[in-house]
Symmetry: C3
Amino acid sequence: MSAHPQLDSQGRLQHLLTIDGLPASIITQILDTAQHFKETGADSKKLPLLAGKSVFNLFFEPSTRTRTTFEIAAKRLSADVINLNVAASSQSKGETLLDTVDNLSAMSADMFVVRHAESGAAHMIARHVAAGIHVVNAGDGRHAHPTQALLDMFTIRHFKGSFQNLRVAIIGDVLHSRVARSQIHALTTLKVPEVRVIAPKTLIPKDVENMGVHVYHDMQKGLKDVDVVMALRLQNERMNGALLPSREEFFKYYGLTPEKLAVARSDAIVMHPGPMNRGVEIDSAVADGPQSVILSQVTFGIFVRMAVMAILAENT
Amino acid sequence: MSAHPQLDSQGRLQHLLTIDGLPASIITQILDTAQHFKETGADSKKLPLLAGKSVFNLFFEPSTRTRTTFEIAAKRLSADVINLNVAASSQSKGETLLDTVDNLSAMSADMFVVRHAESGAAHMIARHVAAGIHVVNAGDGRHAHPTQALLDMFTIRHFKGSFQNLRVAIIGDVLHSRVARSQIHALTTLKVPEVRVIAPKTLIPKDVENMGVHVYHDMQKGLKDVDVVMALRLQNERMNGALLPSREEFFKYYGLTPEKLAVARSDAIVMHPGPMNRGVEIDSAVADGPQSVILSQVTFGIFVRMAVMAILAENT
Amino acid sequence: MSAHPQLDSQGRLQHLLTIDGLPASIITQILDTAQHFKETGADSKKLPLLAGKSVFNLFFEPSTRTRTTFEIAAKRLSADVINLNVAASSQSKGETLLDTVDNLSAMSADMFVVRHAESGAAHMIARHVAAGIHVVNAGDGRHAHPTQALLDMFTIRHFKGSFQNLRVAIIGDVLHSRVARSQIHALTTLKVPEVRVIAPKTLIPKDVENMGVHVYHDMQKGLKDVDVVMALRLQNERMNGALLPSREEFFKYYGLTPEKLAVARSDAIVMHPGPMNRGVEIDSAVADGPQSVILSQVTFGIFVRMAVMAILAENT
């Protein structure tokens, strides 16, 4: 095995597990391939690149949105898609995760798209599967959500042209967010000059400055002159205990309103990974406003997931 | 937007939301297209009319039957079909209906098939989506179920040749039935000379005579000399409080038995939208008897749904 | 109808319901067809044999594994696959099993793959459907699981060359196992000279010796010199009351460990239908050991299910 768990000995992508340590050249390859699909997609949606391949959506956590985007992306590439909500069946019969994966692999799976509440689940599966089977991490615990970060990078490049000279701010529940961790790794790998995180102290991981970001606790200062504003979903369901006084108080101090956004650059774009809690981390006036590119993120997400799958299939 | 919420400025169908106000010419176009699919279907089930299109089955209420017929119809037209049981995921994360629709639209949805417990949900979505995205109402609250009414009209035309000179009786829980409302609109639009509803007073809407129907509370009188008998499902799950004494008593007075059916014309056909409550609104001797065309309705339903989708895709 | 419920008057397979009474020639036809798919599968996974056909996975019991193998097999043959978890919808609306089947048949179903907790459910459906519609039993109560037995036979033939001169032992909960019943019928039909069952007295059906097997209660004696060891899943969920002292005690006496396996022939293969209860009926050292062919069973299961479906479609 290569030194890097996602790459083979020639440095080609074999699994997409995390942005942490992924070379900038691979990220750029994914974005360029997605751009190609975007440009050609309007004429002919269906491409034969995964014809005859079986893609298993292995979701141990429910997610309409992410599961659907992978399903659409795989079908556009002509793959057979099998959706497995694993909580409902084998797990309840006491089969272990790796036995489930072994069995699905024996059914000639070509690719697993995995979402799991435990950090590291996709890595464990990737280490376990035979050569030629690819694993895409669709979110594992608080750890990583690499395709979300990649589609965010695609969105930034689309609207800002490049990653040079940008100031980017990530706002909200960084502590519990696999999205934020993946975004930070992507932004720093792509050499974005200034990456900021803005949140109350209780929602900032202790070591976050080691990741190359600047920490702000005040929206006025943190949003000053930024080019890109990335709101995070407030992960209510992940909170253990009372890290926050209330949703109302969070909105008052950290909710993205037109007033707070006004200190950013006038051409700043606003992003959100969805689903949004309107009136909590973002005001509807911003979510639906002229600077919002939130729905473009969703559209681009299809192209980015197509690109990841096409590159993995090419590297078999 | 056109004056009619379902039609564009040239009068072409853009959404199928309700039969109320739908021109007879459009209904006839749908029935004729379905007839074409029926006649050619035996030779080659799969047609390329929706190849590369994405159809989203957006079901906020569970329905094996209706969801499956739309899924089959879309697959016969070579569409990619994505089934979304929305109750299970995004809604529980607090995303609004229109945010869900926006997100799915951003994934390049071409068509939404929507079932929702709230009357008007499909209309709301149709008003909201971008041009070129089509909405089919697969049942909204007590309001409308237009594809059911269209397949019923197809069935009547198939067995009776035309809509002229017909007496049609609709029996049962008209008050809670979106099927009945859509059937009445279809029958009157197609100029069926006599449309009757038969039910106890508690299950008849107050304004029903304004819809052009004759009200009967007695089966003997209501079924006298009719050509078409349309039983309704007793919507147990929709009843609030005790509008009915008991299922047994309902069957005694309004259950369709061979004895009650005997006063209809001897060549009268019997229809039911399914699923049937045998021994409540219909006796098995009638449901499985020689006058029943209930399973033909199901078969025709595939062709009618194919026709609706094909026409909508053509009108993009 | 033919004397045999699965065959037509020319002796061709119309349904696959049970191995009991299935001629050896049909079993061999299925295994040979699966072998053909196995040999050609590597080059081109997708075959057009069921193009335009609709296969309904009608699962009244949940089963990720079996449902998925049928879904993959059908998609490899280019069928349209409709998954129906029937517990969730129509049944709760009070529709009967046969009404559900009638309705799905009316939607132009070509094949039903049925799993049901009641023994005989697939037979009942097969008797009911119109000519040209095929039924595959994917497990009914304690009665039969024919495709599992067929893939087991494929596996034995693959690794042992033929069924001549073999000693085969089936270990565990024979009483509650539809898999064991189907395996015994297959092995005796194929003239395997010696078939043994090994289990505590409480887990052996009273009439099992009439099926042509030898009963052992001791692993040391029962495994002596066998060529094939078939472990059964301990069907916890099917046990009513306390037939067993404990899982630990079962493992002590009947769990398949390397020590117990040592008395079998040194080239004996070890099989399990999955999902495994590691540390109950099988030790991980055996499950993952050099004699295990458990994952090959899964792979071969795809080819065997493709073969069954292809033969049924051919016999329309």
